[in-house]
Subunit: 269 residues, 2 copies
């Protein structure tokens, strides 16, 4: 059994020191509840709605900054996936996520698909999303809008990911009454299509007028929501779910079908 904890808190733009303290605090909470793996929001260190590039620059840190190593240490046995504003060695800014596991930084992923005005600030990642063997199992990492490209979950599943982990900042978008956020529908489909678990950590707060979906959700390998869903009260929450990740290794769905083996890439053109 693997305990997942998604820390849907509210980073504050323009307050990088405060955000680092918040990250430490939420890692501690996840650890205290016995989480094997904790997910924190996209851009947890910087906030999202930058006034300009300088504001993002002021909150950025390199992937080899001592901060990430210190968080990995503080996480103990808990694996952490956290979004941060990365200052690249090339001087560019990236919307990145770090995988902290076994006391060190195991991987850093730079968001491939940039949303809206992000491209005025960030450069897109130029490497495939990573699959990492952590203590809890084999995880794949995506960030926010990446999840809306089914090629991304598929690629991670083909490389053996049992759990897709996605720090997000989902701005509220219109949806009919009674419907889930559309991004959750897409995540449910990604889970079922690939028979993988999905853990999405959204954020709270209102930033420069921007409201967030607060759509943090954990989805099982059949595509059903097992924890989370849109929050209606409060500023922050920890969404916790216990899952059996090894179930994602079985891709069979009938006596004669397997969702991976049944693919026909020669005909997908």
């Amino acid at each position: 059994m693997t305990r997942l904890a998604c820390a849907e808190f509210a980073p504050v733009v323009g307050d990088p020191d405060g955000n680092r303290a918040r990250v430490v605090e939420w890692i501690a909470r996840a650890r205290a509840c016995g989480a094997d793996l904790a997910v924190l929001p996209e851009l947890a260190t910087s906030g999202y709605v930058f006034a300009d590039e300088a504001e993002a620059q002021a909150a950025a840190m390199p992937a080899d900054d001592a901060t990430l190593a210190a968080w990995a240490d503080a996480a103990g046995e808990t694996t952490v996936v956290v979004g941060f504003c990365e200052l690249g060695g090339d001087g560019g800014l990236y919307n990145s996520a770090a995988v902290l596991d076994d006391g060190r930084v195991r991987a850093v992923y730079r968001k491939t698909h940039l949303w809206d005005r992000e491209r005025l600030v960030f450069r897109p990642g130029e490497e495939p999303a990573p699959v990492v063997d952590v203590s809890a199992g084999r995880i794949g990492v995506l960030i926010c809008y990446d999840l809306e490209f089914p090629e991304m979950p598929r690629s991670l599943a083909l490389r053996g990911a049992e759990l897709l982990v996605a720090p997000v900042n989902w701005p509220v978008v219109p949806r009919p009454d009674g419907e889930r956020p559309p991004e959750v529908v897409q995540a449910m489909a990604a889970a079922r299509t690939n028979r993988v678990f999905v853990a999405v950590c959204d954020r709270g707060g209102i930033e420069r007028g921007q409201e967030w979906t607060r759509g943090t959700v954990v989805i099982d390998e059949s595509g059903w929501v097992v924890a989370g869903g849109p929050a209606v009260t409060g500023e922050a929450r920890l969404v916790v779910a216990d899952v059996v990740l090894s179930r994602a290794r079985d891709k069979s769905i009938s006596e004669y079908n397997d969702v991976i083996a049944d693919r026909r890439p020669d005909l997908y053109r």
Copy 2:
């Protein structure tokens, strides 16, 4: 405006003559309601739960059979997509769908991904799913389990399909209370991901103990259900929706984003 009509009726296995009469009857109903495009179920001519291959063989017809041409003629100005049990020139059986438009057979598609025991009877198609310009607009055709491979909707959208049309026979599968059929969730995601409309025609009746989802549904280009959903009473129904297919040509979803142009195929590996 395009009027879509999905004829969710109950073909009867072992009664090919009766099924042909039912197809004619439902084409007439769709035409009478002013449908620009009618969708009929998968294997509408044969039923689904075959006792053996011989039973499928007895219901099969070649794509150039006079029957399909006669239906195209009877459909008048209404485009029809209908599933049928095809006898191939190679002697093999195929789970196929015909596109009838402008008084003739415009395309025949052989199902790529065979579900469960279908593979004991049918050969899989060996050609990509077709995109066809019909009077209502540009349509792509899939059959049932094909829809669960996101590569398929994506491929059709990349080739300009505005509407995905899918004859299906969805056997009932478990789902939590209050949830939509999982295949509908996947179809909603396919629609939103690609910004295309989706029209799925399921079937009714109980065949050799097999119950059907009766999940006929029309989904708009934002991924929301506009007509249909699981039927709870009756044996058959016509699900009708008026849609503006040209909206599927606009793939932009923010000032800086386009769901097709934003793809990074170089990184999907």
